[in-house]
């Protein structure tokens, strides 16, 4: 047996049966926490509003382009599997376009001058923001 393997065996002998169980529990708890806290909110729908009214609810599983007209022109919404963005907008400052692709549930792009908003929704609705 190589010395390195022997050293490893020496360390393993310090573990008692319950210790191995406890370690397994800790690993499982970590994996479960990671899974439920980090992958919990995949977005499923892109909700497009114009003037505050919902004009489209686009599923995020297929690509689509949508034209929305507002007071100052036409806003283009683009949807791809798992993400959505404002592709173009007539607003002067282009904030909603520069935001790029939205990928998280609850994320929103707001084109205020043209009164068009794009928001992603998951299975459970999340808060847009919480203030204390």
């Amino acid at each position: 047996m190589s010395p390195r393997l022997q050293a490893l065996r020496g360390w393993l002998q310090l573990m008692r049966p319950g210790d191995a169980l406890m370690l397994l529990l800790a690993v499982l708890a970590t994996l479960y926490a990671g899974h439920s806290l980090w992958t919990g909110d995949r977005p499923e729908l892109a909700v497009v509003r114009a003037g505050g009214k919902i004009v489209a609810r686009l599923p995020l599983d297929r690509a689509k382009r949508l034209e929305v007209s507002g007071p100052i022109g036409v806003t283009w919404i683009e949807v791809q599997p798992g993400r959505a963005r404002v592709a173009s907008d007539p607003g002067p400052r282009q904030y909603c376009v520069k935001q790029g692709w939205l990928t998280r549930s609850g994320a929103a792009a707001i084109c205020a001058p043209n009164e068009v908003t794009l928001q992603l929704e998951g299975r459970s609705s999340t808060y847009d923001s919480l203030t204390y």
Binding site: L14, M15, R16, T30, A33, L37, W38
Partner: protein, 175 residues
């Protein structure tokens, strides 16, 4: 007039002081290691606390753990700063957990179990205080998996080191 009261340090006081000094040195040394997140660190002082717990019982371990928290904060200039209270609450929860866990059958649950439970006690106590006081927002829990992984890895490693130290001088283990 009352006779002046003379306090003398007995053997157990000297012992606690010696162990606490070792724990403080380890804490201060590991404070120099850069970490991506406050709270992600090896927690080497827990090795000393576990050794004291298994050799001399819970109350000595509690003395060492709390002296370590106060003295380390003082040395690092963090006394009564937020980090001090996080450290204190983690240490208190960890001690409570250890007080219960030390009653587990020793044949099955050795230092590694105690170390893992203590590590989770530490992050549990810190997260609870952070959530209630420093960052009152549910978003804080997104950090939990990182702390949980840290506790798993360093809890196991510290437990193995403790078990190795006890095995090297077994006559001192309290049964």
């Amino acid at each position: 007039m009352n006779a002046p009261k003379i306090l003398t340090a007995d053997a157990s006081d000297h012992r606690v002081a010696r162990y606490a000094a070792a724990a403080i040195v380890l804490s201060v040394a590991e404070a120099a290691i850069p970490t991506p997140l406050p709270g992600v660190k090896p927690g080497l002082a827990n090795i000393v606390v576990l050794l004291v717990l298994l050799r001399h019982g819970w109350s000595d371990a509690a003395w060492v753990a709390l002296l370590r928290v106060f003295a380390t904060s003082l040395l690092l200039g963090q006394l009564f700063a937020p980090g001090f209270f996080l450290s204190l609450s983690g240490s208190l929860v960890s001690l409570l957990v250890l007080g219960a866990a030390v009653r587990l059958p020793r044949r099955w649950f050795g230092p590694v179990s105690l170390s893992l439970l203590a590590a989770f006690g530490h992050i549990g106590g810190q997260m609870l205080l952070a959530r209630l006081w420093l960052v009152p927002h549910e978003g804080l829990w997104a950090l939990w998996p990182v702390f949980s992984a840290t506790a798993t890895i360093f809890g196991t490693v510290n437990g193995l080191i403790t078990a190795g130290l006890l095995a090297a001088r077994p006559e001192e283990e309290k049964t």
